[in-house]
Symmetry: D2
Subunit: 339 residues, 4 copies
């Protein structure tokens, strides 16, 4: 039975207050407190991406002062972190025509032209990606209170497919390098560290005014987990322990009215999750179906962190539109920070 | 035997001058006249993308005055134009978890969380895409004069893979709506119409100063072919007849020093190609391996055309970084014009 | 509302008796009359394949008198009949290593060894295949009365996956060349012709004692539809009109106690289906979830038909075990008739 | 420089005689001694499969005395041995329609019918398989002396594709349970043990007359490696150490005139290979391109071994036709022993 929060009470933002034996109640309290169902109408397919407006994009374009582009994407190849969980393998790239065959004269084309062609097979969540609104459900409900079972079927997400965001996800990006802020010597948070609302606010304060976060911004949080994987090997980067956002930071995400958030980890939120009983990605359960939050995972924020530190500012134009794969619940993406 | 062009002579830019029985010589003349091998060093992997510099990107960002984003991407789904040529099928999207199973309680996750996951299998050239530098060869040579057979093998493009452009393709975009300019009533060029250098210059002049094209710009040329396919069905959109860039416009592409070019057609260049004997994509043969030009195909320029006409300007910030698929000779892309 | 059949009445085996406006009742009558639920226990995963026993296989092996093997499989390649319905495309075969690269010395192997490797991506129903017991449901019920929604999920067929038949489908095969029998001049039944129980019995009588059909046999019915496609092109072989088994032959299938049945058509049963209102594969609905019948489709029976006619006998050892793809609801198969 | 064998000399069949520093010469000696090029004509596409004749198949059918079928195939699923080497992953099975969606009424079919459909993506060498004649090359030469670079291109094996064997591979099978013979207590040979010609002959002698091996037979050799993997986990079953056929047994394979051979290991031959310098699958290099031998790998011989031991005989009808995947250099297969 769920513990119903007292009317008007707000869920605690202190991890010490979590009842580690009762994930369902802790999730429920935040799901109801931060639920955005109906906020953008019954037909909404964008959730918090609605916070991005024209003024925000114009502001963001004004941040392009160096003319520099930093890709926030990992490579898409077989040497990635995936180990097969839920059939998630690394991207498989194969050639259907090659320069070898062109050089050997095997292609049968006229006047000396030759060509190469290729294929990819990949889980949409295998490398740098956006989680779309159809990716997670809460007790059988999808974003905006829709039935999961009629929204996302074997034919894909029939309502909130990632294609709807194809012309939306361009905004002001803000890097919060929590790894560097909290662990200045290594730049890497320890696995299992849950980043709190207080941490995020303190990081903003420390980084200065270019880090102010508000409505329509896209926040990218660097934990240092990817830097460690790059140095030590993928090991259990996919699905294993990592620093990440604490369930208790759900309120911060909600009140800042950010459009989206991404991290340099597999799972965005802290792992192990903050419970002593079986649990799985509780913050996803609050954020995606209830808030309508689009979440980025496995983003490479290391070069961006260096660039921001050098420039002394942490905001930029972020262009990260997904591939409009019809009905997809996620999309590979090459997000670029334009500074 | 190839007809060697006279020293110092320039290939004609008038399609009437093409020897329609001798594609190899016509291609050779332009390949040698416009070859950029070595221009950016022996190790170059970017070709004309090198023309994009910081100043160009800052200029481009300054064009963001409406805060509006237009996606230039087609949908990625099975209802696309592909018909199987060279094993090019339309993207196949399948689900590995669904809301249906979440709702039925089949997933075994705790505390009411459910999830959906998905896969894609697709030729990288199946929908809106960039042709990378390893996509086309000229007499066994790849970009910069490299051997095709050791550059692009079954393991992919080992040298000029599309991943190298992941943090590059953000620049000023210019729409040349040649369809509207030459066919103002319909906005659609007839199939087989080869767009010449003179057409491009006249279109620029007609559209006004916002259409000026120079070093580092990315030009997107709308022929109206996609609008016709959208209205009448795909039919032979993939591989069939279409308006497109004339082989004779190779010089224009070269001297303007544009960084890249894209069209709303399957094949970028005019089809049928401009020869009476068997030929295949002669302008590709000049442009990709010899100039080092990155080419976009199957871009949806119709909404952009309307927006530009309304705004009375034709330039914008174009963000179109490819997915960094290691060793790929092309990449699906969702290019966005930010106005 | 369903018309409940009178107690003890048997569904008519005359197509003229079908109420062409009421598929649901016609199906229901046969589903209940021929239902085998529980016949082989509550845990059964094989259905009518249980009819094959050791004696039948020994009998079948005794039919190997010529030492000749005839493959009943179509090619698996991109030139197949599929056109994308329900994402069914033709098999896509790609190479990950080639002789080209071996010859060019690109592979890096020692002592002169070279290698080629390959991939396939395909719908399991794209070419010659078995339909497994999880392929079709009747009002939400799978074979043996199980719930469809917990039997075949996004994780596959958790109960009756085709892997269970991996060591089962070897038996006596009998060719009924109904195309030749009913249309001796062409050997091809017209599209839309529904093969009845009477047709099957008459064909057996005409072909002679080697065609006797009984418990545990696997019947392969040749209509000539494939021969026509081979001659005229695939056109709408997949999903279009074809001769096939009439819904009214369900009783014949049931009382003969055959183990499985296959045809040379896309859909096994007659198409258009025998109704004047929207309907879809009614005999599948009776046969798979209710009888527990394994059905083969797109089998190439033409060479076998010639061989049988020459030999003057129509039975043989049929070896057609599916690939044990865990949880699959169908399997590609290369059935071989050993004569 | 290769050491040319003295005229008329035969390569040693004693592993102690191998020059472990010179794989190229050791391979060359056997490649030339056992080469079958031209033996079945210049156009041959079957190699040693030609040894199977009608009489052999009739003999084999006569071995069906129990009416029992044993599948020799591993499961095709994601829990297999592959770890990504050369992009070899385990088979990926996904659903495009499910019983879940049928039960929820999501499918839109009439009269209560529902359906499930599925896909597979897999390397053809990912689970139980045949290596086709285009799988391995020797110094740029494919089977029968053809050029590798024009025989197996990006378009597949244009000459010796596995489809040619679709109606061939049915013959007498003989199990040589070398694991049980040499290690009677465990039934498992140690990793790195090279099975010699003498071992094979001794095993035959010990097993008795039903194990006699001759022209056209298909030999399946059980080492016990798979039993160990089944007990201890896959670990490095794919590509790691294993018992297997010694390079020195090439002569035995040649003189017995067997049609094909298969083992319960990843790589058929002993691993590590029998050299102290870098080497890779030397027996493949002798057997496939030079002898024209079709080789089976990752066959599950454990249940068969128990059955044969119980029955006191080791031969059976083996039906193992590949899927006719056009141009494939290998094929997944579900081989069945019919006893």
């Amino acid at each position: 039975m769920l513990t119903t929060p007292a009317a008007g009470s707000k869920p605690s933002e202190d991890p010490a207050d979590i009842d580690r034996r009762d994930p369902e109640s802790e999730i429920y309290a935040r799901a109801t407190a931060y639920r955005n169902w109906g906020r953008w109408g019954d037909d909404d397919v964008l959730g918090t991406l609605n916070f991005i407006d024209a003024a925000k994009r114009i502001e963001a374009a004004g941040l392009v002062r160096e003319g520099r582009v930093v890709s926030l994407s990992l490579a898409f190849n077989t040497d990635g972190p995936q180990k097969g969980w839920r059939r998630r393998v690394n991207p498989i790239h194969t050639m259907t025509d090659t320069g070898s065959d062109a050089e050997l004269g095997n292609q049968g084309f006229p006047h000396g032209i030759g060509g190469a062609d290729d294929y990819i097979t990949m889980p949409l969540q295998s490398s740098t990606q956006w989680d779309g609104l159809g990716h997670i459900f809460d007790h059988g409900k999808a974003w905006n209170g829709r039935r999961a079972g009629t929204t996302v079927t074997s034919d894909g997400d029939l309502v909130t497919g990632i294609e709807h965001a194809a012309d939306v996800i361009v905004s002001r990006g803000v890097l919060l390098d929590v790894g560097r802020f909290l662990a200045p010597e290594t730049g890497e948070l320890p696995n299992g560290y849950g980043v709190t609302a207080a941490d995020l606010d303190a990081c903003i304060a420390a980084q200065g005014t270019s880090s102010t976060v508000g409505r329509g911004d896209i926040v990218v949080v660097r934990t240092g987990r990817l830097a460690r994987a790059r140095r030590d090997g993928w090991d259990d980067y996919a699905g294993g322990e990592a620093a990440g956002i604490s369930l208790t930071a759900a309120g911060w995400i909600h009140r800042t009215e950010i459009a989206a958030i991404a991290t340099d980890t597999w799972g965005f939120e802290v792992r192990p999750n903050e419970f002593d009983v079986p649990s799985f990605q509780p913050l996803h359960q609050v954020a995606i179906p209830n808030m309508g939050l689009t979440i980025g995972e496995m983003w490479d924020l290391d070069e961006l962190a260096v660039a921001c530190a050098e420039l002394g500012r942490f905001d930029f134009l972020l262009s990260a539109p997904p591939l409009p794969i019809t009905g997809a619940v996620g999309s590979p993406v090459n997000p670029v920070a334009i500074l």
